[in-house]
Symmetry: C2
Subunit: 782 residues, 2 copies
């Protein structure tokens, strides 16, 4: 056996060798999902395991949120993603010994996540404690084309003599999972969360229907099977109970022959539809999948992915590990967002139970920029989900004494679930982030139906929120007081620059869209008085500037605060929030994650190049990156201001966050936003792509370690490719209409002919310093 | 029967008539306590009742504090005062009918709390449902002189015929009490909190010993009895169980005769002493009380109070109700603080379970100023309690990343129990408040042993806290960022003026005391470098000033914030914190309770008279008085700047807070700090008493509604009286050495001869405006 670990390969993530301790991590990295169903990469035999997980996007249980001292408007109920009925399980008895990788010997073992086939393959040769040898090969998928369907093809093959094999294929509800909380009430709420409504089986097919105790959501899971064995001495048996359906297959399999089981699973859930309706839905999905067949599902999956890579692929020349990491990143972003349709995109996708399965601003600010330019329909659907929660957001705004809509800081169903308001509810910037994602999507697609059905209302209601959150002071400046910006080590501050700039864009975008669509505006109750007030507030918006330091303070007084004592903060004291009180973090100059620097990226047209360089250097010295949402933004801005090596280091950190488990928590699920950030580091960082004011512009420049980067994206129906080499850049139109673009500030038209343009020298600036001990790892290309 | 309610009388609080709904309120106002034991004013027969309560200062049960999202340094455990073994209960069976005021008729019923005898008397004539009539008279006390002792004398008298009476006198542990929480875990922790260790009885004496489940505190309660009855056909019986000891007395009592039971109770508790030790302690206390006897206890009680009133009485001429209220206030402040000795003074005293029995800054900032000048030993003991918790405060400071000591925002045993840090832990001003109380006590008593044993260490450790909480900015100003001042509708702000000024005094006081006591300073590890840094920080302290408005902003940017929309805030939306989110309160100009105005009082020498007048008017328009800690301070500053009628209204509000149940929560206990505030309104308000820099100064002036106010106080062992009339003031030295005083800025010496001085005209200023609907009730003298 070779040393266990990931092997570098451009289109695959392969893990060779057995490492049981690594399972909790590889269950996340090897997770399969289509935005609707998520299966963690657990072995088919169920055990050994880290944290088994089967998730349905939006399916949660509810629980009371406790408070030591409650306050008006604190959310009463929390939501936690539920590990639903597990259909992945296929156990094998080899003669009389259960196949269990903890025992016997793994003679050969590898698993491969294939970014082009969209499947997870396994190849295991196992010797039982008494010396019987079998080969297991399996391949599984969660279908991008048939969103209710997952499937596994599983083959067992005796390697020496004829062996009696007993294969059990389960549907298992209320699977015991180690509690991840020390709050006994939370643990109780999530212990056996599913209550049986119905269980039935016939032939090789079974269905289990359940509902949750408090949230009242209903679920049906079904399985059907095809058995392939040359011999005919097979005995099968189907049993069903409330929480378990099991197909058992017993056969004597001679050497040279093999038993292949193809398992089709279908999932459906609803808060409204009845159990019988859900049952017929999953039965129908199963029959559809059976008709397509395993090979058909594989072919559809590959075609879907061919199309995706054709639009979205990134080639990195000069660093094979980052080449792999960036495709791994894109693949998982796709898995998180592809077929969510009317649901949120959780921070962990459907790869683990981290953050309780909640969606945050990660979606709009990190994931949607990628989806907008690679698979825009998925971006649209995620924004349609936000729109579908508008009534809840309006109600929340009302509770908070505000007008318009206040979207939740964290949620599964659209209700606020944040139990600590200074770093939750007060982070109102999420509303401007949503507006920004709406504007970006509209600019990139010119999607009129979405504009009329969703975008206008989202922009109008968020603009209204800003009008009530802010006010004009006696000097006529428009202030936004008492909010929290992206940096969670500073909270409840006045005039957070990021928030104010993003709110200003929100107000102007809302004013523009209502001015362009007066009749729709009237339907939303907006008159010209209101939209003029939006413009006035935007024009009067306070944007702080510290004239002495010549930087923008993150918020009022920020630059007057004491600096965090980085020198005396040991490495093991990070992340700081686990070792220091909020009180002390809040009042000092220490930045968890890009905040003002994120403004330099997203609102880049509000700053001069000199301001960007000075601000970046100032905040670089304060930013500890205790959030995975920081490195990618630092990569983008470092590249813009000319620190190409630093940008490269941050790109690597963002791209390798999960593969290197940099935050030591990948077992709870992947950091989807950080993976999206890898795309951002390439496209917005090295590609210099910006979309200010609806224009698509580039300012490409390679880091010295790389010889070439090529990326692809789609804009207004056209697909383009940008190939960056050290000295020159080639722009190509792969399909669609010509586009007006710009290269380092110079406009050009991209038609059928490639456009080759030179790369200007970057400005030369002294290297910025990070806080003591917090510089990113210097990347050595591999 | 007359209409039920309080009757006005100068030395008594009398309630005539039966009002069962009023019981929950009168149980608080008629509570008896000596700072160590507290008995709520429940009827002897136990029922009907509001919320029965017997409290021992410092005796609590512990419970986990739950958090929806926990954070580093959040306190893990809460503490809640326990309703201990109830010894007040004396039930009567009149023939075969239990005496219960809910049934039959109360022919006559009154209760009297007597401020001079220090007892609660009851007189009831009751007719049973079947027409039997009895007279009940009782008197009870909690002894100021024998702090472990309470006693009741209880008499039953048949009014018509001979009646068989059965009297049961109980000691009852784990008395069922309605839960006041909807958190099932808290309710569970406090359901039957006492676990029996020991129960014994002999003759008329019984003892029950218990401990608490989690806090592990031990408690013994004992009772003994004297029975007085002319007839000798008495049968008595003593029974004892784990949670109940009962003496039963049965007798046929002829008309004209009566049965008198004198019940002595003794309480002791400890975290260290064993059950047998506690049992012997309460047995010994009982024997002592029996030896003193009922009449002896009454005489000691009266002598103690005669002495108190001789030092502390306030006479108010022209408003009989306020005369009564101010003595009621002084009596309850005495009951809260008199014999606490090594324990805290809780915000509700020992009159109810409100605020979980916790002590806050109320003690040092509101109660101790009164005790310092009326019963200074009690002030000393309360500060000794703080000193005894220094190790916990040092540990808390360390947890918070600070040096020195950080005292808890709310606590029973000295550990932080505040579960919402922005309005708890961040309110660091409590440390300067403690230092201020230390300095005030030292100035008023020149108590050297206290100075050496406690005061220096308290001042040094709090000064060290401020040095680590604050920092010098690039301009050399000393800033204190990210803290919460007294106004709980603003939180986590920079440079709260009150906090900065109080911290400055703290630093200077610490520097002075260590400079005066170099050898003790060395023992505390203070060198001249350290004390010089304290002085420098004090000199460099930021004190914000808004030059445009010419007022001091409460904290950075405060005057730039939006004003609360008072006009559209309906009366029923107060207190605002129950109807609006903190988020919105924090970011607007709305003041829960005096903050900057409290600085005008306590740090009056830091402001010019013009600044005081302007600041008072500015903040008066923003202050909604949702805290009972506000009106008294507003009275004091209103009087100083010349708004005498307004000061009078605020004085009335402070004094009547509980008698008129202005906050609709007196059932949970009295507002001891507000009662102390009534004294403050008289002495610091109308008397203009200030103690800046160790000098005792006066600036007396009457409100137009009153014809005379006389108050007494003690200073450096001398007792003085100040008699204020409209045109002139008479200062008298009742005992002790002559004092250097000042009258409206003019120094004078008060010796054996009275000093009569004229009252200058007040400045004439326009009346300040309160927020819409929040002006205090205009007081009409009664």
């Amino acid at each position: 056996m070779t040393t266990p670990g990931y092997e570098i390969s451009p289109w695959q993530l392969r893990w060779r060798g057995l490492d049981l301790d690594g399972l909790r991590r590889t269950e996340s990295t090897f997770a399969l999902a289509n935005g609707h169903i998520g299966l963690r990469g657990t072995f088919e035999e169920g055990e050994p395991r880290g944290l088994p997980g089967t998730y349905l996007n939006g399916f949660y249980e509810q629980r009371k949120l406790p408070y030591a001292e409650a306050g008006y408007g604190f959310p009463e109920d929390g939501q936690t993603v539920v590990n639903v009925t597990d259909g992945k399980i296929i156990r094998v008895l080899v003669e009389d010994e259960p196949l269990d990788m903890r025992y016997g010997n793994a003679l050969k073992h590898e698993r491969v996540l294939d970014f082009r086939s969209g499947t997870l393959r396994r190849h295991t040769e196992w010797e039982s404690p008494t010396g019987r040898r079998v080969r297991i090969t399996s391949e599984r998928l969660v279908s991008f084309t048939q969103r209710a369907i997952a499937a596994i093809q599983y083959t067992v093959e005796p390697l020496d003599d004829k062996i009696q094999l007993v294969v059990q294929s389960d549907l298992l509800a209320n699977e015991p999972v180690l509690s991840r909380t020390d709050d006994p009430r939370v643990a109780a709420a999530l212990d056996k969360p599913l209550i049986s409504d119905h269980a039935a089986a016939a032939d090789y097919r079974a269905v289990l229907a359940h509902h949750t105790r408090l949230s009242g959501l209903r679920l049906a899971a079904a399985m059907d099977h095809e058995i392939d064995l040359a011999e005919d001495n097979v005995r099968t048996e189907m049993t069903v109970e409330d929480d378990l359906a099991r197909l058992t297959i017993a056969a004597d399999v001679p050497k040279g022959s093999k038993l292949t089981l193809t398992k089709y699973m279908a999932y459906g859930w609803s808060s409204k539809r009845s159990s019988p309706a859900l049952r017929s839905q999953v039965d129908a999905a199963l029959v559809g999948a059976l008709q397509t067949g395993w090979e058909g599902l594989l072919a559809e999956q590959r075609a879907f992915l061919d199309d995706f890579w054709d639009t979205a692929d990134i080639e990195v020349e000069g660093d094979a590990e980052l080449q792999q990491a960036v495709r791994f990143a894109l693949f998982h972003v796709l898995q998180a967002g592809a077929r969510g349709e009317s649901r949120a995109i959780p921070a962990k996708g459907l790869t683990g139970p981290g953050y309780d399965g909640h969606a945050f601003w990660d979606t709009e600010s990190f994931v949607l920029p990628v989806l907008t330019y690679t698979i825009p329909d998925a971006a649209r659907d995620a924004l349609r989900w936000r729109h579908s929660t508008l009534d809840k957001a309006r109600a929340r705004a009302k509770t908070l004494g505000q007008r318009g809509a206040a979207f939740p800081w964290r949620s599964i169903n659209g209700d606020e679930c944040s139990g600590y308001w200074p770093a939750g509810t007060a982070a109102f910037h999420i509303n401007a982030d949503i507006a920004d994602a709406v504007v970006r999507y509209l600019n990139a697609t010119q999607d009129k139906p979405f504009q009329n059905e969703c975008a206008m209302e989202l922009l109008v209601e968020t603009a209204r929120l800003w009008m009530s959150l802010g006010h004009h002071d006696t000097h006529g400046n428009f202030r936004i007081d008492g909010v929290t910006g992206p940096d969670e080590y500073t909270a409840i501050v006045d005039n957070n620059v990021y928030t104010n700039l993003m709110a200003r864009r929100n107000l102007r975008a809302a004013a523009s869209i209502v001015e362009d669509n007066p009749s729709l505006a009237r339907e939303l109750g907006v008159d010209t008085e209101e939209s003029s007030r939006w413009r006035d507030a935007a024009d009067d918006m306070v944007v702080l500037y510290d004239k002495e330091l010549r930087v923008h303070p993150q918020s009022e007084c920020f630059t007057h605060h004491a600096r965090w004592d980085f020198k005396n903060t040991p490495a093991e004291a990070y992340p700081l929030l686990l070792n220091y009180p909020y009180f002390d973090l809040y009042r000092k100059q220490v930045v968890k994650q890009s905040d003002l620097v994120l403004a330099l990226h997203l609102c880049g047209d509000d700053f001069t190049p000199e301001e960007k360089a000075r601000n970046f250097a100032y905040y670089e010295a304060l930013t500890v990156r205790d959030s995975s949402l920081s490195a990618c933004t630092q990569a983008v801005v470092a590249a813009e201001v000319g620190h190409m090596e630093l940008a490269y280091d941050y790109f690597a950190e963002a791209a390798l966050t999960d593969l290197h488990d940099l935050h030591d928590n990948v077992q709870n699920g992947l950091h989807i936003a950080s993976l999206a950030g890898a795309w951002m580091a390439v496209v917005a960082g090295f590609g210099g792509m910006r979309d200010h004011g609806g224009k698509l512009t580039f300012a490409p420049r390679l880091p010295p370690e790389l010889t070439k980067i090529t990326f692809r994206m789609s804009f207004r129906g056209s697909k383009i490719g940008v190939e960056i080499r050290p000295e020159r850049v080639a722009y190509r139109l792969h399909s669609g209409e010509p586009l007006e673009l710009s290269h380092h500030g110079e406009p050009f038209t991209l038609g059928t002919e490639p456009v080759i343009l030179p790369v200007p020298q970057p400005p030369s600036l002294p290297s910025p310093q990070q806080p003591h001990g917090r510089a990113p790892a210097r990347r050595r290309p591999r």
